[in-house]
Amino acid sequence: MTTTQPVRPAIADLPSDPLVVIEAGKTWNVINVLDIWRHRELLYFLIWRDLKIRYKQAVFGIAWVVLQPLALTATFTIFLGKLARVPSTGAPYALFVLSALVIWGFFSGALMTSSSSLTSNAHLLTKVYFPRVIIPLAAIGARLLDFLISFVILVVLVGFYRVPVTRTVLLLPLPIIAALLLLAGCGLLLSAINVKYRDVGVAIPVLIQLWMFLSPVIYPANLVPPQWRTLYALNPLVGIIESFRACILGQAWNPTELAISFGISLVLVLISIFVFRRMEVGFADNV
């Protein structure tokens, strides 16, 4: 016979209201911000894990982050800047293209990893609870280090070309914040859809490629005829890349376009939160 020990409750008084209520069909509640805040350390640890693993082979890891934008810059400068003579708003083409590649590289890289983040962390989704949004957000966060490294290269190049630093540099956080918002929106949306429809994952690299050509990365936005310019600016990356580059090069830029980017990104974030919450219910069953 099992001996009966006196059981002393760990929690002398249970809370009068339940800590958690799980009710069927309540998929309309928005993402619980408090819950995410409680799990903020997990966000930190997941970013830390991604970085640790990616930079484990330290030499190759960092070299890749440094070489990729440099190689692209060199290629674009030779073929587009020198041979095709693509205009570069008065700045050296190399600087012109690298300043866009820094933010574009961050955006596309983070979009790639975050959109596949839920499926690649399937083993966590099926075994333990935490707010699921943390996974795509951590994937984006882990790319910030890459961004920082390539930004340092950009600063070196700015120094090399002796481009005068103006006060516009102080506005740099604006396009970066817009990019983060846009990333959060796209990342949440695509990662959630990717769990349910696996063929979306295959299409994402192609779409990213297309997006690059639809954005002013290798050419200036003013190459687009004025009557198309407003339509063009509906691509939120137009405002982001143009203003980021202008801040670096100390040039004037169009605040309306960045405002459009902010607006679209915010709407996208709201939609993605809604969709994510709706689809979150099925993650553990579908992944």
Binding site: R8, L42, L125
Partner: protein, 430 residues
């Protein structure tokens, strides 16, 4: 007492995906939608079949309770744990939790092979719900519990599976939620580590935490739990005292792995001389069952057909435990010439002989010259101890090593302190 977990009419429905189509594709949805628009009559081509993994579950668990959940594969045990752990959401009903939940549905959740043991302690700890300060505080304790101090800074991909499991369990055992959910995690590691895990859970239980516990291993359920629910086809069919629920479970498990028959002689094991037609495990009262009380005898029966007479063939059986340890072989010693026809041979293994665990049986028919039938793993059965105090365990409820469990008679004599001691005699009966 006020419950810490309440489930009110909880159900979970799953879609059954047709074989082959593992995932829905966006393309399918698009084409389906387009076709639907073109031909109004075809609504949803890919209508899914559904089934209820769990339905109408009502459950109240009070703080400090250790609840065992038993049932066959697919009965809904894991679904229930996943719902309470918030991994998946219910289709119907309402769940209320009055405490933090820590779930341990596998060993090594969040472990990454490239990271070192130290790094994985932090990562896995955070994933299981610990804060960084909590992990810092318990780090030394976790490492010493796992007994891998020397290798803590080595990537876990170089660990042996035993080391991996020890570290992983050790992290999980140090998460201190009010509600702890465990799925089959006690079946890891070697015997001494299992003992350690078991003691740790006992400590958690004595601390007044609530534990929900799923296991296929009836011994650990019976040993650890004060209350057991039995799930079958998604509903709770029994709820109460462990030994009572276990015996209900036992009677319902008649004829599962306890019987094998071969109706088609061409597919039956054997050769042109003899063919095996059936093997059955029977309890004392003759019912076919795969769960045997440790105190009760078990009879294994083999039915075979001799197609060509004349050989002296002896039926024999080989018993193994779940670790693959060869327990013993037994054969019919009265070897006689076998004529053409049907035979049934049975062997009775006495009660209080086999240890708790899963026993599998190989059956064979052979002569010194030839093996006619040799079929491994034909039937399996579980030997369980319902802890009523009159088995070899007595009042002891912890893990008991050894491949057999004889009930032996003990005799202890007492001599007052200053007198000369007399040797105690041991009297053995099996």
């Amino acid at each position: 007492m006020k419950p810490i977990i309440t489930l009110d009419n909880v159900g979970k429905q799953y879609k059954i995906r047709s074989a082959g189509a593992t995932y829905e594709t966006f393309r399918d949805v698009l084409t389906e939608w387009t076709i639907g628009r073109l031909r109004r009559q075809r609504q949803r081509k890919l209508s899914h079949e559904t089934f209820w993994a769990l339905s109408q579950v009502n459950l109240h668990v009070t703080p400090g309770e250790v609840l065992g959940i038993i049932g066959r594969n697919g009965a809904g045990k894991s679904t229930l744990l996943k719902l309470i752990s918030r991994i998946t959401e219910p289709t119907t009903g309402r769940i209320e939790l009055y405490g933090r939940v820590g779930s341990l549905l596998e060993v090594g959740t969040g472990f990454h092979p490239e990271l070192t043991g130290r790094e994985n302690v932090y990562l896995s700890g955070a994933i299981l719900g610990m804060t960084r300060t909590e992990i810092n505080r318990k780090f030394d304790e976790i490492v010493s519990f796992s007994e891998i101090e020397r290798f803590i800074d080595v990537p876990v991909k170089w660990y042996s599976s035993g080391m991996y499991v020890r570290l992983a369990f050790s992290v999980a055992a140090h998460v201190e939620p009010e509600i702890l959910i465990l799925d089959e995690v006690l079946s890891v590691g070697d015997a001494s580590f299992q003992m350690k895990c078991f003691n740790k859970l006992e400590a958690i239980r004595k601390d007044g935490r609530t534990i929900l516990f799923v296991s296929h291993n009836m011994q650990s359920v019976l040993r650890l739990c004060k209350r057991v629910i039995y799930l079958s086809e998604g509903t709770v069919v029994a709820d109460g005292q462990p030994s009572e629920v276990a015996s209900q479970y036992v009677t319902s498990r008649l004829r599962s792995s306890a019987e094998q028959t071969w109706d088609d002689i061409d597919n039956a094991p054997g050769d042109e001389v003899a063919r095996l037609r059936a093997v059955r495990v029977r309890a004392e009262d003759g019912t076919i069952t795969d769960v045997i009380d440790v105190r009760q005898p078990v009879t294994v029966e083999m039915e075979y057909q001799i197609l060509a007479g004349g050989d002296s063939l002896a039926p024999n059986m080989h018993f193994f435990n779940e670790d693959g340890v060869y327990l013993f072989v037994t054969g019919d010693r009265s070897t006689q010439r076998k004529e053409i026809g049907w035979y049934t041979s049975t062997v009775r293994v006495p009660g209080n002989f086999l240890a708790e665990g899963t026993i599998s049986v190989n059956v064979a028919l052979s002569s010194p010259l030839a093996i006619r039938i040799n079929e491994p793993n034909v039937v399996t059965f579980q030997v369980i101890d319902t802890l009523e105090g009159d088995s070899a365990r007595g009042d002891y409820t912890g893990p008991m090593p050894g491949v057999i469990r004889p009930l032996l008679n003990w005799n202890t004599t007492f001599t007052p302190a200053n007198a000369k001691p007399v040797c105690a005699l041991e009297d053995v009966t099996v």
